[in-house]
């Protein structure tokens, strides 16, 4: 516990609200963010069973507009947005030439030749330079709007009801991964919890007003602690853990979001990985014991290191110790026995699907 940290993290437009609610605050992605309010387990269950409210204003937003907007997004993005209908949202990655991952992101099609890109807080500066570097030759207007938008996520089975009744935002007609705007407010049926839910992007004033109404209505505020346990159980990757400059989307098992039949940066390297196979793959591992595998712990086969844990928890939904880990591909087969070194001891586990909770999206 070190309280002498220099204050250099940014604050979101909801910072004062978190402090007033007594949240445990900690630096994340360059921002001082709430980790928990009532406790990770309570907040996790609120989202699984009812509804929870997250401040995700740290996320970055970039707009791409102009004659070549679609062609530009196609060039930097692994997923295929050709001919997409207005209002559709796509998940995918930006990759380096060698296939490593710059970031994972959402692309919102707001209008013809008008796209809204949502990127990770910790990568805003890196992504912004990357996007600018590759904008040459495209007739586009590229804007980093990260400081202009606040963002909340309302997640859980009761989220639609809360959005409509508490915030007065009609959203029942939105299907999974679609977006609409009401004046300047952007509302999408998206999230990072494995539950049904919505995200709202708007001015700091509007976001603060939404926050107050939702808290007054008794919605559980949720921190980044349970955001991580929720996304982990749902098998969703976090940049920095499951995707990095070294871990390509193919290695991470995300090839469904990589469309190799179109041209984009990194396509040739990723095609080669797909055709020839990758040296390492991301797997799920379930332990027999309750010991918890954490990020960076070594995965062993017959005493030899063959991989590393990327994220691990004792899951709240299934009461099991499980992790995602990047291992030598030959050991990535379901059912393979692998061990994990946890401090001084070695614990036996086996390869399982990297999905520890059945997602409940409104399709």
């Amino acid at each position: 516990m070190n309280n002498n940290m220099e204050q250099k993290e940014k604050r979101t437009c909801l910072y004062d609200k978190h402090v007033a609610l007594g949240a445990l605050m900690s630096p994340f992605g360059g921002f001082e963010m709430p980790i928990q309010y009532a406790g990770i387990a309570v907040e996790h269950q609120a989202v699984r069973e009812k509804v929870g409210l997250f401040d995700v204003s740290h996320m970055g937003e970039v707009t791409v507009r102009g004659k070549d907007a679609e062609r530009y997004v196609q060039y930097i993005f692994t997923n295929d947005i050709a001919g997409a209908p207005v209002g559709k949202i796509y998940y995918g990655m930006m990759c380096y030439e060698n296939g490593g991952t710059v970031d994972d992101l959402l692309v919102y099609k707001m209008g013809e030749n008008d796209f809204f890109l949502v990127i990770n807080a910790s990568n805003i500066d890196k992504d912004w330079s990357w996007m600018q570097q590759h904008a040459e030759g495209f007739d586009i207007d590229l804007q980093n709007r990260s400081d202009d938008y606040g963002q909340i996520a309302v997640q859980g089975p009761e989220s639609e009801q809360v959005m409509e009744q508490v915030l007065g935002i009609p959203c029942s007609e939105l299907t999974f991964y679609t977006v609409k705007t009401i004046d300047d407010v952007i509302v999408s049926r998206t999230g990072y919890t494995g539950e049904d839910g919505f995200e709202v992007y708007a001015t700091p004033d509007y976001i603060r007003a939404c926050w107050d109404k939702l808290i007054a209505a008794g919605v559980q505020p949720c921190g980044l602690g349970c955001r991580d346990t929720l996304r982990f159980e749902a098998g969703l990757p976090l940049y920095g853990d499951e995707l990095t400059e070294e871990i390509s989307p193919i290695m991470a098992g995300l090839s469904i979001f990589v469309k190799l039949d179109k041209a984009f940066i990194g396509r040739d390297a990723l095609l080669k990985q797909k055709e020839e196979g990758v040296a390492k793959k991301l797997v799920g591992i379930e332990l027999a014991d309750k010991a918890i595998p954490r990020h960076g712990y070594t995965v062993l086969k017959d005493g030899q290191p063959i991989g590393e844990v990327t994220t691990g928890y004792h899951t709240l939904s299934t009461d099991k110790s499980v992790c995602m880990a990047l291992v030598d591909s030959q050991y990535a087969v379901l059912g393979t026995g692998l061990d994990i070194q946890i401090r001084k001891k070695v614990f036996a586990g086996k390869v399982v699907k990297k999905l520890f909770y059945e997602k409940r999206y409104k399709k």
């Binding site: 990770i40 602690g225 004792h314 709240l316």
Partner: protein, 129 residues
């Protein structure tokens, strides 16, 4: 306000020792369990393992993180609290009743390096600010 009990010895890493003869009963303090939140796993040594004052002997894990345990005294482990294997949350319920290991102390003078209840209370107060 975290509970502090008179008569115990306390370390700066928030373990306590309750002395019964030459046996040191070691656990984490109420302040520590509050700071950790829900304890979901306790990694304990085995009987007959040697522990050393100031050295790591195990860990307590909350949902989010593992926190190392440091032994306040040196000696040999004579008992581990097996109840914690199935019910680690006992530490949240009462950190003082639910000790982690019992150690046969090899050098009781090490207790002099630890804090008494009043000093530990002041230490927590300072750390909390």
């Amino acid at each position: 306000m975290a509970k502090v009990i008179e008569g115990l010895y306390y370390s700066e890493s928030h373990e306590y020792v309750k002395v019964e003869g030459n046996i040191g009963i070691i656990g984490i303090t109420d302040y520590a369990q509050k700071a950790l939140g829900n304890v979901v796993y306790v990694d304990m040594p085995e009987v007959d393992d040697e522990v050393e004052a100031g050295a790591e002997f195990g860990a307590v894990e909350s949902v989010k993180a593992a926190s190392d345990l440091y032994s306040p005294v040196s000696g040999t482990v004579v008992e581990v609290n097996e109840a914690l294997e199935d019910a680690p949350e006992l530490i949240n319920q009462d950190a003082y009743a639910n000790w982690i290991i019992k150690v046969e102390m090899s050098d009781e003078s090490e207790l002099e390096n630890l804090m008494d209840a009043a000093a530990y209370e002041a230490f927590c107060e300072k750390e909390g600010h």
